[in-house]
Amino acid sequence: MRQPLLHVSDVSKRFGDVVALEQVSLDIYEGDIIGLVGSNGAGKTTLLRLLAGVYRPSSGRVHLADDADVEQARARLGVVPENTGLYARLTAWENIRYHARIHGVPDDLAWKRTRYFAHHLQMEDALSRHTKGFSRGMRQKTALLRALVHAPEVLLLDEPTAGLDVTSARTVRELVRQLGEEGGTVIYSTHQLAEAQRVCNRIVIIHNGDVRADGTPEELLEQTNSTNLEDAYVALTRDAARQRHEDSKPLSKWARWWRSLFTSTTPQEVMEDE
């Protein structure tokens, strides 16, 4: 029987009055390529941040197989956030080396690993270039190299193909698939079902902070009596999707009043007033 690598036990996350995730439980096994699928604001990024130890759960626990809290075990995770988070005034290699050093990976070993993956991503020549002029695809590839440099047990990717051209998206997907074939564990958030189906061996559908379904694509089809995943997704997420919440800080009464002084009304509002 396979042992879970990462446990998410009854995890809830609240931002003030807003519940972003409600009692989510997941067991993540070695070799899992999990597609975390949901609409904008579903709670995918919140869950990934909880898995990465960036957020602390409001209740419940995220821990590894040896019972270490994820916050104390960040060295065993590789993270690619949605906006890559590269430093523009550093070269691609310097960006990677910075993270490697914080992980305690010696420079020569970091370089060896970087060269290996850079070869697969066809970006060896770009390693010495400053990332300022990089395309979205190059930034994403660099962030992937950076997340892989310390050989993490689990790789967390937040919408890694969003905004990429066809070729770059394909390269990223191929790398993820290859990692899975080599026994790696990847959690991959996306709002595109087709992509999740192509890359992942397990799909978790998350909607309005709940896990609505968790299983292989075949299991999801069976669970919903659907013939394709799109129908299955629609069947599982019939209630309206909520707005994104954690980034929008509510304004104070005074701030709202001040802003209203300099806010023009829409033609619709003018008509309603009349």
């Binding site: 941040r49 990465a52 130890g53 960036v54 957020y55 602390r56 960040r74 060295a75 995770l77 993270v79 690619v80 956030p81 949605e82 906006n83 890559t84 988070g85 590269l86 430093y87 523009a88 005034r89 550093l90 310097e94 910075y98 993270h99 050093r101 914080i102 992980h103 305690g104 962030a143 950076r146 967390l156 954690e246 980034d247 800080k249």
Partner: protein, 405 residues
Amino acid sequence: MSRGRGRVRTIAKKELIEFVRDWRTIVAILVIPLLMFPLLFILFPLLLASEAAELEALQVDVVVQTNGLPEELGMVLNASDLNITYEPLPVLERLSSPSGDEARLRNGSIDVLVRTQMNGTIVEYALLYISTSEQSLEARSRMFDVLSQWEDNETVARITDAGLDPNETLDPLRWDGDVAESDVATQGEQAGMALSLFIPLVLAVWTFSSAIQPSIDMTAGERERGTLEALLALPCSRMELLFGKWLAVATITGVGVLLQIAGLLFAIGYLATSDVISAPSVSWQALFFLCIAVLLFSIMVVAIELALAMRSHSVKEAGSILGPALLLILFPALFTQVINLDGIEAFWFAIPVVNVLLALRELLMNRIVYSHILIWMVTSTVYAFGAAFYAARQFKREDIVTSLS
């Protein structure tokens, strides 16, 4: 080296590398402070001297309206370097009334108009000029010199005619000896006194202002650019992150302040060769405490700035908070300039910002008062730790991961 210290060093090093790669920031924070005082103390006086020489070379046109001048005054006027034209004195209620001559002064056809009339043995006069014209002001100054010269001569002549000794009459109280000799303070002490009114202000304001830009860039900037999330997912604690960034900002600020002091000392050294000011005489002990005071102050200032910038959601928001916050340093800094250090009450050395500024003033004057040192050292340490604690709380906030990008 422990892993934690290694990570702090890695973070600080990366911040410094990023900083030095932006030449505009280098110019703003490192080159300008180095050149500011030499430019202010050396080039500015040279510029003033050159302007003065230019004024001296000017030819000024003066019209003298008179109904009769004493012969000696006429001779003095004619011997001067003024271009003088004489005109008859018009009928006026008062000599100082501009009357119809205002236009000539305004259009620059004349620089000064002097009116004189005899009233018994007294020469009554008025001098009309336009204060917004440098040329007119120069002409007025030269005209006064000429008139004063005649007045001095005339006074001596009249006293002599009355059978008195002009020296005894005009100068009944006289200084005997060298004026400079009478001040028992050494030149070094005098320089310390003069600089104690200046250096603390500069140190305080520059420490605060030079830390603003790197503090914002390394916190709100990271947040805005979306680089913070990847950093927070790394196996380093938020305290390590804070220390790394603090170390980088403190290094940049420290180098900026040191360069500014180097520029200041260079300018003082230059002025010392022309006897304008001497090098201040500060003991090694005072210098040691001075460094401690600056260190504690910069720990506090940098921690507060990092905390305030980290609270902000964007670079713009951080700038609009930290910019006006400079006043929190500037006002106490200006205030401490007027506090009399003789017999000062001890409580002043416990007030934040004021305590360090007063300490710097005392130490630059080579006054080592241990009770004062104890108070400012203890209170400054408490404030520095308080600021660091506040900064740590901001760095531990969960919402710092959210970015605008």
